[in-house]
């Protein structure tokens, strides 16, 4: 592969520096850096180091369990998985489109999730870097530090997240891992009392969301050299877009643009993603590398998420967020904005948009009454795509006549951004680490870049990965609980002498 700094020419003898775990990013990732004697950076990699195997253990399960099971891929964006799986299963059942009530309640749930996740991402996980500086004191560089130094800002974040979580609770039954959406529709309406409660708070929520955009924008504008340049690189961009070009985070066709903003593909059916996207495996991470087939693996990689969505759509269909989008686009002076830290600004524009959409949906009587389920002719296979907080999320299933899942393929948002996150950390390493004596603050810049994309690599650990296998797990008394071996030819064996099951 020709990606600069991905693989050192001669890794032997180089000094290894690891950032492990990547913090304020849920702890399943690490970064390794190889340096030569002059501290020149020779190799930088973001590794996804965990494996959970969801795609395989979902096989054989009844299809109606899946929207609930897959939420456990990620506790930060469970609703995205809940709904992407539901949308795929709607197709499997031929129950597409779902009824207006079902779609509107699902949308309400989804935009609640966008709001809460974006608030968490910006305020709880990223704002300490942006408010205190990348070199600030480690002990204070966290949400508690923000609460102490900037209680007004922290409180807005906490309350925006709370409102989003409440929207999820009233539509899904529970804030984390609810059960509201089912294949073919929804299992309940929003109650009038819950609707009234949310309507009472929506005005304040909108005001806070507007403040959030202002904070992100002012941070950007107050240090434009840093914000425009940090971890910046050109890339293609991908997202769902509504047929009329509007931003739509729940449904739409696939659109991709090249680095100059020219449209590469548009209006592509979500059901056809396999014709458009291929995935490549590299041996040093569990996460695959997707790319547009038409451009190949070296030119075809792309970014997803707020930065892509805000620029990929033609307009945002709510007025406050659209006005903010115009200001964002103006920042690019006619070309797309490629700055990694601009993700935060774009993210807060989307948070505002989510609050506006929630306000509209709360006023819609269809969420309180109307048919919830549709039926149709079963086809046995379906794809569900949604714009999760971190970007495009694809769920694809085949289901047998006996209702059991026979195939599951997931391409999650973090995976779409895999190459981009690697490029971002390499760009930062090149600019800040090369030839330097490494300090905590310098290394934190690598994490700042990752946090701009993703505060949670959890969902990326779903797939079967590649790993060296030769391990024994002992309990406190030294008894072997588990043992697996990998022989030199690469084949795998259990050590049959060791007890491999769960102890009684």
């Amino acid at each position: 592969m020709a990606f600069d700094l991905e693989t050192a020419a001669t890794p032997e003898g180089l000094r290894r520096v690891a950032i492990d775990p990547v913090s304020r990013v849920e702890g399943h990732g690490k970064v390794t850096i190889l340096l030569d004697e002059a501290n020149r950076v020779q190799q930088v990699r973001l590794h996804i180091v965990e494996f959970r195997g969801f795609e395989k253990f979902i096989e054989g399960r009844p299809y109606w369990e899946v929207p609930v099971m897959v939420q456990r891929l990620c506790g930060i964006c469970p609703v995205s998985h809940h709904l992407a799986a539901s949308k795929a299963m709607d197709r499997v059942l031929g129950a597409h489109p779902v009824t207006p009530s079902a779609e509107k309640i699902r949308r309400l749930m989804h935009y609640g999730q966008i709001l809460q996740s974006h608030a968490l991402h910006f305020f709880h996980l990223s704002s300490p870097d942006l408010l205190f500086g990348f070199d600030s004191e480690v002990q204070k560089r966290n949400i508690v530090g923000v609460i102490e130094k900037h209680p007004d800002i922290a409180k807005k974040g906490v309350m925006l997240r709370k409102f989003g979580q409440e929207v999820i609770r009233v539509t899904a039954g529970k804030r984390v891992h609810g059960t509201g959406s089912v294949p073919g529709g929804m299992n309940k309406h929003v109650s009038r009392a819950d609707r009234d409660g949310l309507q009472r708070d929506i005005g304040q929520t909108l005001a806070w969301a507007q403040d959030a955009v202002t904070i992100a924008r002012q941070l950007h504008e107050s240090n434009a050299v840093l914000y425009d340049g940090f971890g910046s690189f050109r890339s293609n961009m991908l997202s769902l877009v509504r047929a009329d070009g509007a931003m739509d985070l729940y449904d739409g066709g696939l659109r991709a643009r090249d680095a100059a903003g020219n449209i590469l593909l548009d209006g592509a059916s979500d059901q056809r993603y396999l014709d458009l996207i291929a995935e490549e495996v590299r041996p040093w991470t569990y996460m695959k590398f997707p790319h547009l087939k038409s451009l190949g693996r070296e030119a075809g990689w792309y970014r997803v998420g707020p930065l892509a969505r805000v620029q990929n759509c033609d307009f945002i269909p709510t007025p406050l967020a659209e006005a903010q989008r115009q200001a964002f686009i103006a920042r690019g002076h006619g070309v797309p904005v490629h700055a990694t830290l601009a993700y935060h600004w774009a993210r807060m524009i989307e948070a505002l948009h989510a609050a506006e959409v929630i306000e509209q949906l709360l006023a819609d009587p269809d969420i309180l009454a109307g048919e919830l389920m549709s039926t149709g002719q079963r086809v046995g296979e379906g794809v569900g795509i949604i714009e999760a907080p971190r970007g495009t999320l694809i769920h694809h299933y085949r289901v047998g006549d006996d209702d059991l899942v026979t195939m599951c393929n997931l391409i999650v948002s973090t995976t779409h951004n895999n190459q981009a996150m690697n490029e971002a950390v390499r760009s930062v390493a090149r600019e800040y680490l090369d030839g330097q004596e490494l300090t905590e603050g310098l290394l934190n810049r690598i994490e700042v870049a990752i946090r701009a994309y993703d505060p949670c690599l959890s969902c990326a650990t779903h797939a079967l990965g590649q790993m060296p296998l030769d391990v024994s797990l002992l309990d406190a008394d030294g008894t072997v609980l588990d043992h697996v071996l990998k022989s030199h030819d690469g084949s795998l064996q259990r050590d049959l002498a060791a007890p491999v099951g769960l102890p009684a």
């Binding site: 195997g53 709880h124 991470t285 590649q466 060296p468 406190a476 084949s491």
Partner: protein
Amino acid sequence: MTTTLTPYPAHGPRKLKVATVSLAGCFGCHMSFLDIDERLLELIEHIEFDRSPLTDIKTVGHCDLGLIEGGLCNAENVQVLREFRAHCKTLVAVGACAINGGLPAQRNHLDLGRLLTDVYPQGVPNDPELPLLLNHVHPIHEVVHVDYFLPGCPPSADAFWSFLTDLMAGRTPHLGHGLIHYD
């Protein structure tokens, strides 16, 4: 919930030091903890975070309390768990994954070796940076002593709050009516 917090008596005015980690979990338990919402502003008057996905502290120091989300799926999880046990006076298994393996343990009935060779027919690659994978996903109490179990997938925010309130008041944590859930 309206319970107010009183300082942890064993330490007088010192704040309770708390470390948290997500092993083979989904971060949902941490999210539910954050669902105490504005009570977080009150809580941090009484506790201080050590290593946690919310801070930049990378190794766990001496702590009063360790909250563990997620089960054990690889050797690194085991190492982190042992560090937590060695450094935390009280260790809590939080959520279904830590208590019984949770959903990731669904892979336990599958032959891992066969799965890997199915998915990577070109050969299962090696990279020393990736931690060794366990054949099965294990609950944490199989490897270390656990002081308390907080059930749920995830436990509710009120369950977290009630648990912490009791602990800080020096009481044995007790989950009252409606706070014990397993879903």
